[in-house]
Symmetry: C2
Subunit: 202 residues, 2 copies
Amino acid sequence: MNNRGILFVLSGPSGSGKGTAIKELMGRRPLKLSVSATTRAPRPGEVDGVQYYFLSKEEFERRIADGEMLEYVNYCGNYYGTPKAPVEESLATGQDVLLEIEVTGAKNIRTLAPEATLLFVIPPSMKELRRRLEGRGTEDAATIERRLSVAKEELRQYGLYDYVVLNDTVESCADQIETIMEAQKRASRYMGQIMERVMEEC
Amino acid sequence: MNNRGILFVLSGPSGSGKGTAIKELMGRRPLKLSVSATTRAPRPGEVDGVQYYFLSKEEFERRIADGEMLEYVNYCGNYYGTPKAPVEESLATGQDVLLEIEVTGAKNIRTLAPEATLLFVIPPSMKELRRRLEGRGTEDAATIERRLSVAKEELRQYGLYDYVVLNDTVESCADQIETIMEAQKRASRYMGQIMERVMEEC
């Protein structure tokens, strides 16, 4: 019998590099990456069930009403969220699930999924974050200042998470996350099934 | 500036092999092993400050009264406990401290040292625990049955600890503890100093 998998929720300010860390991690570990649902239209090349589950507004709202979304946000008039069922199916078969969400969504996840382990990916310094945002070359000075100020506000909320990972290099960041994932397998709150087996046989 | 060290408290039923795991661990990591104080008389070869701090009953009781003990028990008419000051000094200089205590003492440590990380070392199975206790050849059948029954009672309290480590082999046990220690360096509750540095420089 498999032990139940662990739901790892990964979040972090824009520019913290959580996306590249996740890509590195997926090449290393047998993790199931949760696919989000959205009501926005598919872009060319996007496949239903791969980049997103594409749902109508009505269907998304029905799922919210029926408690079928683990978390969701409404951003620029479109819904984005995590369908509960695929996450639950993977966890039940012993598969660990990785869920990437925005910091705004992470605030609610503790209530909605109390059994989840929450990781916060942060840049090694504000200076480095500025360098990364400026390096993209896609945003004007005012936008960068606004992003930095939002990031600083988000960093203040690190206490909401179980672990904080400094993203210095992508390798070191993925190393830290792997270590945390290994350690969490021994967290007492996930040891219920194993403890039952250890105790029952006597 | 060093970050504050972490206090790791290790406990486990008799026969779980925590002593050998600690020996293995001390050879691997720069850990400070906390030395207990006791009112029992030194045995031949025991040196004050090495195996134990040897204190008079009056001095031990004064320390309890003055809040200078992190935890203590009275066992067979003698006090055993952990002096606060040396632990505090090591933590302040950034040194991690390892403290081995009996399961009875571990129940209070959450209140007395809320910042500590608590590890519970357990045998891989009750069958294996029985094998180990019988293998010692030092106890009669009735004593072994009593120890097994105490161990089972202790195992039920695994939820008091942060992590549960299965001691299958000494190497695997030390590996698990090392992984947990590394992960705890990223636990958000220990990240206060680092977060201040990350945020302040912007």
